[in-house]
Symmetry: C2
Subunit: 204 residues, 2 copies
């Protein structure tokens, strides 16, 4: 019964290192990660890391860009779609992100932490990836609730979706709920968030 993926298995050496880097970097962040941790996790010799990827920094670039794509890739296209309603956009984003984050729960804290430590580095990438202001979603929100800044609803949507994954270590400690139960809860939220978001839109 080998539940956890064993990356010391049949992958190529290069792929073993990359997969180990994904795990260690996303779990501990760039600064707290030592190349020796990655080598050990991959079950390879430390020198091979530099042989394949030249440096810790270069390997990190690959991982962070992958994860950033996963976190931000979907949002731009959905929000700028002129043909869908607010409700459809919210449901689409909610279902897509919760599924993605159940499979990759460490991503939000990882990506947001690295952006904090190096905002300039990601400025260009982010601005091209996500056109929120002046998006169709933004205009639809402004039309629906002209009395409230549309940014509030952006915060609300992302907060409802992403926060449970960021706060998970804390919530797990506080409540002691097991991981399987947490997954059930997250799946429940896919549908609930749509309902809650509508309620917030209509709240007076």
């Amino acid at each position: 019964m080998a539940k956890k993926k064993d990356i010391t298995g049949d992958l190529s050496t290069e792929e073993k290192i990359k997969e180990a880097a994904r795990q260690v970097f996303t779990k501990k962040g760039y600064a707290a990660t030592r190349t020796r941790d990655i080598a050990e996790e991959a079950g390879i010799n430390l020198a091979l890391l530099n042989y394949y990827f030249r440096s810790k920094e270069k390997l990190f670039e690959i991982v962070i860009m992958e994860k950033m794509q996963l976190l931000l890739g979907k949002i731009g296209p959905v929000l700028t779609d002129e043909k869908t309603t607010i409700e459809e956009k919210v449901e689409d984003i909610s279902e897509h992100y919760i599924s993605t984050l159940i499979a990759n729960p460490d991503i939000p804290l990882f990506v947001l932490g690295e952006i904090r430590n190096n905002p300039e580095k990601f400025a260009n990438l982010i601005m091209t990836k996500t056109k929120i202001v002046n998006s169709a979603f933004f205009k639809q929100l402004a039309a629906r609730r002209p009395d409230i800044d549309p940014l509030h609803f952006i915060f609300n949507m992302l907060g409802l979706i992403i926060f449970p994954f960021i706060g998970k270590p804390l919530i797990q400690l506080i409540t002691g709920i097991p991981s399987e139960r947490a997954v059930v809860l997250m799946n429940e939220r896919k549908k609930l968030i749509k309902t809650w978001f509508q309620a917030m839109l209509d709240a007076k």
Copy 2:
């Protein structure tokens, strides 16, 4: 016009170091912080840091415990209060935390990041500080909406309050809104969150 507090001023050396440590640690996290950064920020000699605090680790303990207290200190007493309603609890927590976080916007990402890197270390502290399950708030939520796990509403409340501060670097990059405007938005949320939370509670 000296807007930013100058910690090289009239504080005691010990306090200068501690204040510099607060700033650097919360902004960059433990691993990415060098003791030299702290010494420079404090305007003191590097050796003095070890003279007063023995080690980077010991200095960090002081700072993280302070910040954890700031983030978690209020929540337990409010949630376990048998005499207040759901609405009063939400308003109380919302106003208190948003004020606190406007003054200390880096705290959530800092604290949650360090918990992630060292969950065992904070396990005891957190469990004693925050009794969420079986709190009055928890029971009130279960009575009000027996069809939905109360944890969902805990997630929702904390997400609405805390996420904007965690996502701020990202949102700033995406929207380009200036910091002053962000503060205005956060203050608006104090009242809005109460309304939104009620709407979510009543949503069918």
